[in-house]
Symmetry: C2
Subunit: 468 residues, 2 copies
C-alpha cells in the first residue's frame, strides 16, 4: 500500500474537471476520466432508465427491430403519382415534413410550399386564394410520415405530383418520396413563383414518364448497395449525394435510351438529372424510410424509427409506438452560411431528411464524407469523432454501410432512446439550412442535434407501458 | 550539466536502432530518431548530390518546371485517329508503353498486343503471320511517349485506332491516349482473339464517332477540375476511376443525346461506357501527360516528367533531358491477386499509367482513395502514410489536387530525382498486375516502387552536364 501522505501519487479523477485542475496545478500527475451522472442528473428519469436499461425484454425487442432494419432490402419499384399510389392520399390532401402541425403554426417555407402545391394542383389561381383555402380548412394537411412518405425541407407532396416508389424486397412495405427539384428557388424552400410551378408541371409531364419507363427497363435497383458504394465515394447520402447521383445516372441513362421515347424528351430528362448533385437524395430518403418501416412496431423496442422536423417542432417515433410522436422545439442549425446570410435569417431545423440519420447514414456517417466538412464546417477529425460518438447511442452498427475512415467498420445505426437519455449524447444531423421566409431557398448547411426531450418523452412512455 | 555517471538520463539516439535497443533494455528512457547516410552510403553519389542539392540553378529550374506543371490546364479537345492525328505516326508504326524495347525482348502481354494490333489493322491474317511481320522488321515499334501519347498496360496504339486528344489550354501542347476497352480479355493485356478484335473495330466504328460528336456538343471539359473532384470521391484516378467515370458520363450522356445520331448507336456507346469503371483512366493519363509535358525541357531541372514501364524495363525522364531515358529492370508488383493466381503468374511492372504518379495522383494520392486499400492491400493508415511520405521527394504540392485525409493539403507532386537519390525513398506506384502470358488479363492489383537506379542515373547525367 502507498502512503498517500509521503509517497508520490498518480491520480485518476472521475467526473468534475475542477479536481483534475487543482491536482495538476500542484504538479500531481492526474488522468481525467470524463463522467457525468446518468440522465442529466434527473433522479426520476435515472430510475426509469435503470429499469429500462436492465430490462431484457427491451434488449430482445431491439434485437428484433435491428435485425429487421438490417434485413430490409429497398428496391426501386418505379415512379407513381401521389394521389393514385400513396395510400390514404384522398381529396384535397397535402403532405408536409415533420410531425403534425396546424397551418397557422407552420414556418414560412412550409406555408409557402403548401400554397405552391395548391397553385400547382389548380385548386386556386392566386397565392391569396390558396391561403384562404387552407385557412378555411378546405385543404387537409398531414405529415408525409403518416403516409409512408418522406420529403426534404418543407416536404410538400400533393396528389398530382410524381413520386418515387421503393419496395422492401424482404418485408414488402412500400415507401414514397417526391422528386428533387434542384437548388435555388424551389417549392421545398417555400417558393411558388411561375418558374417553380412550371418546373413542377414539367417534372410531372416530361420527367416522370421518362423515369417511369427507364426504371422498367433497368435491372431491379438495390438501393442499399448503391448507398454503400456512395459511402466509399465521399457521400453521406444526406447532404452530399454527388457520387450516388452520378452512379444512379450511369444506370438510368442507358435504360432511358431503351424506352423508345422521343429523344428530345429523354435528353431533357437526363439533362435535368445530370445537372443536380442532389437528385439521389429523395431516393436515399425513401430507402431509409423503407429500412426504418421494417423496424417499426416491435413491442417494447426503444429503437428510434423516425426523426423528422417541420421547422417548428422536432418529432421522434420509436419502434414500440409506431403511431406516436414525441416532440420538442426544433433546434437551430449550426453551420456555414452562404455569403450575405446569417443565423438571423435561418428557419429552425426542417424536413424529413433526418430519416437518413435514423437509418445510420447522413450525420452518423460523416466519416464517409470528409469533403463535406468544407460545406458544413468542422474538420475531418470532427467528422470521424462524430461517427464514432454515435456508436455510443445505437443498438448496433450496420455492416452493409462500411466507413473507410473507421477502418471499414459499419456506421452506427438504430438509435436507442435509452442510450440517448442515459448519456445525453444527442443524435447528430447533417442538414441544409432554409431561409425563414418562404421562397428564398437554401442559405447554408451545417450540423444540428435531435433535442433530448423527444427521447426522454419516449422513455416515459416506454417505462409506463412496461412497468405500470 | 548532468553527471552522466550518477544522474538519470534521457537519451535521443540518431541512426542505428541497435543503440536504442541496448539502452532501453537497461531501462534508460530513449527516443529513436531514424537516420541513414545520404545516397545509401555511396560516397561518389553523395558528393554529386551534395553539389546538386546546393545548386541554386537546379532549384530555380525546378521552380520553373513545377510552375509550368501547375499552370497546365488539360482540356478535352476531342477524338482523333492515331494515324491521322498523332505526329510522326506514319507507315506501319505501332506504339507501346514504357521505354524503347526490341520485339524479342518484349514481355508476353506486350508481344500479344502488338500482334493483335497488326491483325486489327489487317496487315496480317493470322497471329503467326503477324509475328513473322514484326520479326522481319516490317513493323516499326516505338514508345507512346515518343509521340506524346500514353497507353495503359501494353499501351499499344496502331494507326486506325481512335484516340483521345487533350490540349493544354495554357501551353498549347497536345497529348493522346487510346480508349479503355474494359476488363477481361482485352488488347492491353495481350489478348488478340476474335472478340478482342471485334470490340476494337466496334470502338473505332461505333463508339468513336459518338464520342467525337458528343465532345463537340459539350462545354469544354477541364479535366484537372474533374480529377480534383474525383480525389474527393474516393478515386486516385489511376487504379480507381469509379467517381471520375461516373461524373464524366454525366457530362457526356446529355451531349451525346444532342448529336442527332442514331439513338441505337448512341445507346450502345453510352452502355459501353456506363459498364466500365475504368473508362476515365485513359483521359486521366492523357491529362497527366499534358501536365508533365508542360514541365519538360527546362534546362538543369531535376524534376521527373515521365515514369513508364514496358514489363521488362522501367524508364524515367527528367525535365532537363526530355529525350533521354534512364532505365532499370522493371520491378514486380506487391499486391493482392485474384483467386487462382499468384506472384509466379505475374508480369513485371507494365504500362504508361505511372504518368499519374509522375503528376502527383495515383499512388501519390492514395490518401484520397481509402477504399482502394481493400483492392491493393494495406490499411487506410498506410495510404495516408504513403501520401505523406511522397512529400519528402517532391518539388512541391499540387494545391489543385487536395486530399481530404491530409486536411485538404495538396498532393505531393513533381518528383525531384535529387531527393529520391538522397533519401532512398522510391516513388510509389499503385497499379494493376498483368499475367505474364499474353491475353490472360489482369490477375491482381497492388503497389510497387520506381527503381532507385533510374534516379541515380539521372543524377549522374545532371551532375555531368552542370559540373564537368
Amino acid at each position: 500500500m502507498k502512503n498517500i501522505i509521503s509517497d508520490p501519487m498518480h491520480v485518476i479523477n472521475v467526473g468534475l474537471a475542477r479536481f483534475t485542475d487543482s491536482l495538476s496545478s500542484q504538479g500531481v500527475p492526474v488522468a481525467a476520466c470524463p463522467w457525468q451522472p446518468p440522465a442529466g442528473g434527473d433522479p426520476v428519469l435515472a430510475w426509469k432508465l435503470a429499469r429500462l436499461l436492465n430490462n431484457p425484454e427491451v434488449d430482445k425487442a431491439n434485437e428484433i427491430a435491428f435485425s429487421r432494419y438490417m434485413e430490409s432490402n429497398p428496391v426501386l419499384e418505379g415512379v407513381g403519382t401521389a394521389g393514385k399510389d400513396i395510400p390514404g392520399m384522398d381529396g384535397k390532401r397535402i403532405l408536409h415534413s415533420g410531425p403534425p402541425i396546424a397551418w397557422e403554426n407552420m414556418c414560412g417555407p412550409q406555408q409557402g410550399a403548401v400554397m405552391g402545391a395548391i397553385l400547382f394542383e389548380g385548386w386556386a389561381d392566386t397565392p391569396e386564394a390558396a391561403r384562404r383555402m387552407v385557412e378555411a380548412g378546405e385543404v387537409e394537411l398531414a405529415p408525409c410520415h403518416h403516409h409512408q412518405a418522406v420529403g426534404p425541407m418543407a416536404g410538400v407532396i400533393s396528389p398530382s405530383m410524381p413520386v418515387w416508389m421503393v419496395r422492401d424486397a424482404v418485408h414488402g412495405n412500400r415507401t414514397f418520396s417526391n422528386f428533387n427539384e434542384g437548388l435555388g428557388k424551389v417549392l421545398r424552400f417555400g417558393a411558388f413563383g411561375k418558374d417553380v410551378l412550371d418546373r413542377l408541371h414539367w417534372m410531372a409531364d416530361v420527367l416522370a414518364p421518362v423515369l417511369q419507363k427507364a426504371v422498367e427497363k433497368m435491372e431491379p435497383l438495390e438501393i442499399k448497395s448503391l448507398m454503400a458504394q456512395a459511402l466509399h465515394m465521399g457521400d453521406e447520402v444526406h447532404n452530399r449525394n454527388a457520387a450516388a447521383t452520378s452512379m444512379f445516372f450511369r444506370k438510368l441513362a442507358p435504360a432511358a435510351l431503351q424506352t423508345g421515347m422521343d429523344p428530345a424528351q429523354v435528353a431533357a430528362a437526363l439533362n435535368f438529372i445530370a445537372g443536380n448533385d442532389h437528385f439521389f437524395l429523395n431516393l436515399s430518403m425513401a430507402s431509409c424510410k423503407t429500412m426504418m418501416n421494417a423496424a417499426a412496431g416491435v413491442k417494447n423496442s426503444s429503437m428510434v424509427t423516425v426523426m423528422a422536423r417541420n421547422g417548428v417542432q422536432f418529432g421522434v417515433r420509436i419502434s414500440a409506438f409506431p403511431d406516436q410522436w414525441f416532440v420538442a422545439d426544433a433546434p437551430m442549425v449550426d453551420g456555414l452560411f452562404f455569403p450575405g446570410y446569417s443565423k438571423n435569417d435561418a428557419a429552425a431545423d426542417l424536413g424529413d431528411s433526418a430519416i437518413t440519420e435514423t437509418a445510420g447514414v447522413g450525420g452518423f456517417a460523416m466519416a464517409a464524407a470528409p469533403a463535406i466538412t468544407q460545406f458544413v464546417g468542422g474538420t475531418v477529425a470532427d467528422a470521424v469523432k462524430n461517427s464514432r460518438n454515435m456508436q455510443r447511442i445505437t443498438v448496433g452498427r450496420n455492416a452493409a454501410f462500411t466507413l473507410p475512415l473507421l477502418d471499414f467498420g459499419g456506421s452506427a445505426a438504430g438509435i436507442d432512446c435509452r442510450k440517448v437519455a442515459d448519456t445525453g449524447i444527442q443524435p447528430i444531423i447533417n442538414t441544409g439550412i432554409a431561409h425563414k421566409e418562404a421562397g428564398i431557398g437554401q442559405i447554408g448547411a451545417g450540423l444540428t442535434a435531435a433535442p433530448l426531450e423527444c427521447f426522454t418523452q419516449a422513455i416515459d412512455a416506454l417505462d409506463a407501458s412496461l412497468h405500470e
